[in-house]
Structures are given as structure tokens and as C-alpha cells.
Symmetry: D2
Subunit: 325 residues, 4 copies
Amino acid sequence: MTVRVGIVGVGVMGADHARKINGQISGAEVTVVADFDADRAKAVAAEMRDATVASDGFELISSDAVDAIVVASHDSTHAELVHAALAANKPVLCEKPLAPTAPECREIIAAQGDRNLISVGFMRRFDPAYNELKRASTPERIGETLVAHCISRNVVAGPGDSAATITNSAIHELDCMPWLLGSPITEVSWHAGRTSRHSGVRQDPQIMLLRTESNVLMTLELFVNARYGYDTRCEIVGEEGIAQFAIPAHVIVDSELKRSIEYPLDWVPRYAEAYRYELQEWVDAISEGRPSTLATAEDGLRAGVVADALVVSMNSGGRTVTVDY
Amino acid sequence: MTVRVGIVGVGVMGADHARKINGQISGAEVTVVADFDADRAKAVAAEMRDATVASDGFELISSDAVDAIVVASHDSTHAELVHAALAANKPVLCEKPLAPTAPECREIIAAQGDRNLISVGFMRRFDPAYNELKRASTPERIGETLVAHCISRNVVAGPGDSAATITNSAIHELDCMPWLLGSPITEVSWHAGRTSRHSGVRQDPQIMLLRTESNVLMTLELFVNARYGYDTRCEIVGEEGIAQFAIPAHVIVDSELKRSIEYPLDWVPRYAEAYRYELQEWVDAISEGRPSTLATAEDGLRAGVVADALVVSMNSGGRTVTVDY
Amino acid sequence: MTVRVGIVGVGVMGADHARKINGQISGAEVTVVADFDADRAKAVAAEMRDATVASDGFELISSDAVDAIVVASHDSTHAELVHAALAANKPVLCEKPLAPTAPECREIIAAQGDRNLISVGFMRRFDPAYNELKRASTPERIGETLVAHCISRNVVAGPGDSAATITNSAIHELDCMPWLLGSPITEVSWHAGRTSRHSGVRQDPQIMLLRTESNVLMTLELFVNARYGYDTRCEIVGEEGIAQFAIPAHVIVDSELKRSIEYPLDWVPRYAEAYRYELQEWVDAISEGRPSTLATAEDGLRAGVVADALVVSMNSGGRTVTVDY
Amino acid sequence: MTVRVGIVGVGVMGADHARKINGQISGAEVTVVADFDADRAKAVAAEMRDATVASDGFELISSDAVDAIVVASHDSTHAELVHAALAANKPVLCEKPLAPTAPECREIIAAQGDRNLISVGFMRRFDPAYNELKRASTPERIGETLVAHCISRNVVAGPGDSAATITNSAIHELDCMPWLLGSPITEVSWHAGRTSRHSGVRQDPQIMLLRTESNVLMTLELFVNARYGYDTRCEIVGEEGIAQFAIPAHVIVDSELKRSIEYPLDWVPRYAEAYRYELQEWVDAISEGRPSTLATAEDGLRAGVVADALVVSMNSGGRTVTVDY
């Protein structure tokens, strides 16, 4: 059986999903595409082996040619599209965020019931490096985890204020660190100092302290105009040792009195494998009729609630805020 | 259209190909499996979505359920199976070597004519690191290439003498270095010193000097009982700079007064991506009815002829031998 | 002219200073040694070319055979020995801390007047890596500094509570980061989560946030029972790039499926060069009758005042504390 | 006792020795300087605490103010100056080469008799990295050594042909590899391919194969116009593991989509510590009246004889040449 996938929204992210599903994933093909920009939809459909264009996301969701849906359209449309997928009783992979607010997330979760239809696109859970780090940071290898340090740097950020940066960018750490550490975040505080002249209206960089239920204290530096390269770092500090990411690079070049490796300009090369593994697992789970190991709607809610707590801390001078799930 | 693939030989390599084609490749599925060990064939077929077992490779090749064939059986069977695929006019991906001797390779090439049916499994051409190294070692980046250094180390070798080690193991460098440097190897010499106590009947390590038509001089250390880890290195030395592989590692662990990264035990993790890209390109080219970018039968012949010249050098005290294509 | 040095206290640190001055420093020699353990004093004196043993630090300071004094005795004795050196009008290099409290430091500074006699042993200012980091983190190279991350890890700590750990160990960062960043620390907060089972009575690790007058926000992880190795890290994050320490290692060993470099067990190898450069500059400045570039008594006071503010934060649940110089 | 040192030749190397002896070495001072360029001699003498200028090397050697001599003048003058030092019965540290030909070296050795007066400036024996590599490449750590790979690259070479490059530059490996491996080089061959457009009259790079009496086979790439940076590499391949140099760097800078470390322009920073340790050991041995651990005149002869064998191989089309000591 081939899973017939409809893609709603074929901007950078949705088009990349479409190409991966069509060209690199076993057991799936893209059959319908929709986008508010009809030309863009047509162009991406034309790249596929055999795909049509729907007039909008709702038509796509209800199409008989679609078994499962990827929602990669504008954030503001996610909630209603996911509701439509639930109404059609079809599996849906929704890019984060599931919905703009926690109450709206909770409504979606209620509407889903026990059907396991919703997956949320926290692809870092499928990144080979994060998975190897998870395996390397067990008590047997490095002792009990005590502290973690995360750094998330983009080259150049799009528009957005400090709160939006937390909600859209820090959200990845807010999902994957509890997954990695096996414990939810229960307390946060937000800090900042000098801001980059490239930062626009936002504070950049931002420093956050996060505490898990298991009392692991984390530092998180979020710097979305770091200029030098796209860079995700994570270090797990245990009682007997530490584990951290190596710099991902295939090749070293020595020239002009320097030994250098290259940074990517954005997340695309860094997480290409993560997206592929995520999509393959999503398709396999649908084919086999089992729950996938992707992030669930509840995971999406949890990350959003932590982000909200960070915004509260930011707006109250950096005070420590307890996360209320 | 889904390419229906038959796999002849499902030992470690063939079973891995079968699993990749069935679980990670878009547009293909394994439909028939054959192996001299019928239980092994049955077990691998059972892992597939919908595959049967053929009584032997020839039955598999002529099956109506098979569009294309992977030959991963014992080296001694490759030539006759490839001839059978040519007779059936079906595309065949043959693991190296294509045939045990140059004359037998030439017979196969003659039988193929201009049909472009044969691909040879030199997967390094699809390895992301080799491809990035090729892009990094252009005249614009590092000047004209002058010298190259290759190191190929296995943890523990199977049985085999020095000549077999060249033919089976060094053969990968003998194919991919001319591909990388854009020039065939025209002159070789073979050298050795102290041999490892783990080496068995073979000389281990072996040191080879290789010269391309473009007069790039290469050193190649082949060490198949290196114990410490599976390790492929390649350094391209240019007039203005050098390019070389970084050590592939996702995670660094610090413990017990050491900072460490792990080596794989064998080629499987090192070249997993290369095999996947190679198979996807093979399937895509078949689907699209175009020649693939995999190594051709002629490439397989060329690498074999260089290996033969190295064996001649070895058997004549290390003298310099001109390669006669 | 050879500077004749007296060493008060020849435990690990003082004996190391004595050996360096006698064997690796130009223009100086150790002439008198004192220690509360007379046998230890005798043993170290016997290692020197031509040194005698004084009955105590005060006799040593007033000896005609001593031009300059190194104070490396127990912390509790520093203040009175430095006062004695001032009374004798002789240059003194005092290991940190200068005195146990800020008022006592201020008394010493008052007693010194404008004589430039006191240097404090913050050797990191002479570490080649810190100096290269300082040169690499200028606005021209990485833009204005925005954030810094420091990590200070020991393998196994001696006895001491959390406050003592700040005062004795974090003190090095509290001195060298303002030196490196060119701005004093004005605000601090102290944080902690799960503590190591190896931590004894102290909280370990501790996380501190430090803010400079120039509004650079720093994270500092102090972990004195880190087990895996002695490790000092520092990363300077600028508007256009970052600069950080490389891991200091001369040799890489590959064995048993691992590529490894070794960590030192303690600070001795990590800072051997720093101590040598510090001592040479101290001796050169004395010979040439000029102020040295070592940390001054005022620097020692400043670092102590920041440490005191961190202890206040720790004792008040992690609140943000303004540093009052 | 302070060893009073005379320096003959104060070009880059001699002036550096003078500054080190005067400013960084315990127990020595520069008392007399000579150079064929009288102004240069005066300038360097003026930098010292208390040094005079001799009219030539012979006057310096016989001066009552000189206990020991450093010969750092032009290569062509070494032999006669060393003979003069032997005649004066004073210790002499001669930069390599000791003499232009093996017979002249043998004459010097004969003139020395059993007096242990001559040391040769093969400073790599005192380099911390080479010493750590020697300790790391023991049978206990990596098994019996089987193969070694050396790379020696300069940024830009001065004038000289291929033979001079071997004699002046490769000579360092020819001395230190036998020292490191504990076995003399007994067989060599010389190879070359495409030459750099920056190479001038010489072949550049050159590839050499060297075999020790213990049957360790070595590759040596000598590339004196490598442009990208001054770079010395050494890898020891053992039966159970390998040991090699880490890249020496204190600081990593990330900027402009690159992570970089800097290469030095020449040997000065790379071997600064080696020269300092070498000079300190030379001075200590003189002070203590014992033989030093510096390379001896016999070591100098041995390296020269291997270099001569390489030139023979080069001039005879790369044939294998047995080294005749």
C-alpha cells in the first residue's frame, strides 16, 4: 500500500516535504497540493510524479485521493486545518505550532480523542545527532544528568519580536530537551544583556534558564542573528562525564593560513536527515496502522506552555516562573 | 511506476540492500529474493512487504515480477549472473567485482553493447563526504591538485592473501580516486614493511604509490586489521591549500580523563548514506529511462586493471608498473 | 642583577613556584624558603642551587638575602605576610586571596599607598590561550561582545562548602573575565539544580549569571567534581562571530574503537605556561624597576567583592545582587 | 654559576636564541655576540643585559667571557667554527648542518673524541608534541609500530633546489623519526609527480619512502611552498592503534560561515617551546657537567647520510637506495 499524501502549503518547508516524500521516502507519494498562491501550488505539483492541485486546504483534506495530510501553511491556519483533518478522520502531520494558544491546543486535543491522528513536526527527535546524544547521555555512560547547556543560533532572522522568537525558534529546544532528558520543564526564567545591532525590534541574544521536574538546570542561549553560521549545540553534563554534539562537517579545508570547516546558512542541511527520518516514520506508522513515534499534540501543547511561561518571565523583568501545564 | 527489484544473494550486503530498497527508497520494492541458502532467502523475503523466493539467481532474473536485479552473491557468481541479466535485457547493479579477470570483464562489456544496463556498486561515489571533498578540491578552492593521501583501515579482516586484499578492499580507492581527481591511474608501485601480528597470511599494512595520467602522485595505506576502528581518510593537496575528510562523528563524550569520539566497527554506518543515495539514483534512472551516474562496467574494468598492476608490482619486489588498460 | 626570591609556603603551589623560579626563569633565583612544616622547607631548599631555610615567613621577609617574596602559604596567613612585605618595602607576589574579607583587602591597599609592591597570582592573565582569546575577541574580529559562556571544571574537589568554592575556584573567572572583556562585573545571580553524588556538603555544579558594566551577560558553570577531566572553557559571543578555546592537546590516540585526547587531572599542566610567564614578568618588572602587568591588589579586591555578592545571592534564593565595590 | 654564552650569527635564528637565553632561560646569559654584519651584531648585543660584540666568531670562541657557544651563522661556516670550539675545549650548540658533507662531519667527530662538547640543533627532540607522541606510541599504548606518515609543509620556501630542500628541511624528520622510533633509517627512495607553480627550480612537493632497521616503512611528504600554513604532521601506526599530532591551536573563531583555527606563517611559533626546552637543557647540562640529551655530532652525521641517500635516489629516477653509515 502506498500512502497518498496531500500537502497544504508549499513554501520552503512544504515544498521540501513534498520533494522528500516523492523522491526519498518509501511507501508514499504526493497526490494533491494546495497553497494560497495557486502558481506555487501548480509548480510544486508539476515536480511530482502524479499530483493535482486543490483549490484550498479543506478541499485537499476531503479529497478521496488523499490518505494523510501535511500541514505546512502559515501558522495562523494550522488549527482549523488540523480540525478539518480530524473531522475527515485522516492522519495529519502539522508543522509547529499546532495552534497559537494553549486553550486552542487543548480544544484540538479534545477533538482528537484517542485516535492518535495528530503528529507535530518537531523533527529534532529524529535527528541522528540528537538520538546519538540521547543514547550517549544515559546514567551508564555519563552518570545522572545534572546540567545541560543548549545553544541555538541562526544566521539572520526574519521579522518578529522577542516573544515570537521564543515561540517559533526556542520552541524546538523546549520540545526536544524534555524528550532527551525524560522529564518536563517545570520552571523558567528569561535574561538578556546587550543586544546585537542586527537584532531589529527583538532582544538578541536571549538567555534562558530552564529547570526540569527532575531538577536538571539548563542554560539556553537563543541568538537568531548570529551571522557566523547556523549552529545548534547541546551539552549534557552528568555526574561522571559529559556528552555533546560534535560539529557536523564532512570536509576540512586548509588555506590562507586557516584550517576551516563550513557552517550551513540555515537549518536545511543541518536537519535534512531528521526531516527524512521523521517523514519515513510517519508514513510507516500510517501504513502499519500503529501510533508513530513523532511528537504528539500533547507534546506540542507542552512546548507551547513552556514558551508562554518564558514570555511571562520576560515581561516581568526576568522573574522565575513556574510552568503550569 | 514502481521498480520491482530482485536481489540475488542476501548475505550482509544483499540483505542490507533489500531492506534499504524496501524501507528507505522511493519508487522501488523488492519482489523476489534468491540465495544459495534457502532459509536465508526465506527470512529476508519475509521481512519485505510482498516478496517471493526464487530457486536460484537465473530464475529470479527471468521472473516477470522482476524489472531490475541487484547481484550481491559470492564474487565467483557475478559474471554469469550479469550475463544472464544482459540476456534478459534488464538493468543490473552488480557488487564489485564485475568479474574475476580483465578479459572476463571485457566479455561482459562486449555483451552489453550500448545498452547501459550494468552498474557496478562503487558506492563511495555517492558518499556525501567524498562528494563534498570533490567539490572542495577544485582549482578555485585549493589550486591544482598535486598529491593525494589515502588511508583505508578495517578493524578485522576476513581470510585472504595480500593480492585478494588489493582486489577486494583497495579496489574502492582505485575506483573513486580517478573519479575524484578526474584522471585515470597510469602507474603504480607496491611497498611493505613490518606486518601486523594480526595479519594472517597477508602483508598488512600495505603501502602503494599511484600516479594518475595528470601526474598526481598518491600514497595509499591499506591496513585491514587496524583494530582501532573502521577509518577511511582522504586528503587532496593542492597548490594553494588542502582538503580532507573530517572525522565523522555526531557526539563527543568526555569521561575518565579522555575526550572521545567513537569509530564504527565496519563500513556499514560509514557508508549507509552512500548506499542509500546510490540505490535511489539507480532506481530513479531506471524509472526515468536514463543512464544512471553509478559506476559503469567500464569503470569496474578500469579499477580491476589497476589492482592487477599492483599485484604485479607486489610480485616483482615493488617495481614501478605501468597500467595497461 | 639577579632577583633573589624568598618563598613562604612550599606546598604544591609554592614548591612549583620555587622550581620554576630556579629552573625556568631568567634573572631570578630562590634564596630562602619557609614553611610551617620545617622538613618540607628543608627538602625544597635542598632542590635549589643555593637556598637556606628561614624559621618563619616574617624572618624570610626581613632577610637581607631576599629581594622579593612569593606568598603561597595557607590562605589565612596571606594578609599578615603581605603587610610584613609592605613594612619591609619589598615586592610581593601573593597567591589569591589577598585577604579573607573586603575590608582587610582595603586595609592592605591603604598600607601599600602608591608603591606598586603587591601582585596577586591570577595567572590566567598570562595563559597563552586566554591571551589569544582576548586578541581574537575584539570588535574587528567578532564584533561587539554580547554574551560569554564560561565553564570551570575540576576532577575532584577538596573539602569546602558552596561559598568556599565560589571564593576559591570561581574567583579565577571573576578576575579574568573583566580583564578579558574590559569591563567590571556589576550584577550577579546564583542558581543550582540537581547536585552530584560526589559533591559532599557543597552544591555542585553551580550556575552563575554575571553581568558586566558594559551589559555583557555571562553564564558560568562551576563544577568541582566533574570527574572526567580538568577543563576550562570560555566562549565569547560577538555580533559578527564567536571566539572560544580549542581543547588543548598535543596528541590524538585512536584505539579500541575510539579517537581520544587526554584531559589533565588538575590545573598543573593546563596552566604551567601561565605560571611561567607570570613569574618571568614579575621578575622582569622588579629587575627593571617598573610596575608589572600582574593583577594588582585592587584587582584582587574586585574579584573578592564579586565573589561576596554571589554568596549573598546564593543565601537569598538566587536573587539578582548588585555588586558594590 | 651562570653559563656565559657567545652567539655566532644573529640572523633570525641566532637573534631568537640570544633573546631566549637572555630572557627565558635560567642560569645563562649572553655575553658576546658576533656576526658578519657588524650592525646586526651591535643591535642584538644592545638588547642583552650586558653583552659585547666580537669582531668574528673565532675571537668570540676564544673570549674569556664565553663559556659556551651557539653557532647560528651561515651553513658554510659551521664546520670551521665547531672545530674552533673544540680547539678551545668549549661546549658548542651548532645549528644543523654540522658540516656540508659526511666526511667533514666525521672529521669533526674525530676531533671531538670523547669530550661530548658538540650538540646539534635538532630542536624537535624537545618539542612537547613530539615528546608526547613518543610516549603515546609505545607498544603498551598502540602495539608495535608498523608504519609512520610524516608531512612537513612550509608556507613559502626560500631559494634552493630539490637536493637543498632535502638537506635543509627534510633533515628534521630524518633526525627525529629515528629518535622517535628508536631505529635508524636504512633504506630510502624518492618520488615526485606534478610540481607546484610556486616551486621555482625545485620539485615541490616531494614524496619519500623511508625504512628503518626495524622495518617500519614511512611516507614523508615535503612541501615547502604549501601556502596554506606552516604544518608538521606525524602519525604512528601500530598494531593496536595509532597516535598522531593534534592541530596546535589555542583558539577557534567562528565567523562568515566558517569555523577556523589559524596556522602559523613559519616554524617560529610552532617550535618556540622546543627551542626554549632545548636551550634550557643545554645550559643545565653544562652547569651540571653532564652530557646533555641534545642531538650529538653522531646524530647530525646520521641525518646527513640519510639525506645524501635520498639525493642519490632522486638523481637515479627514484630507485631504492640503501643507507651506508
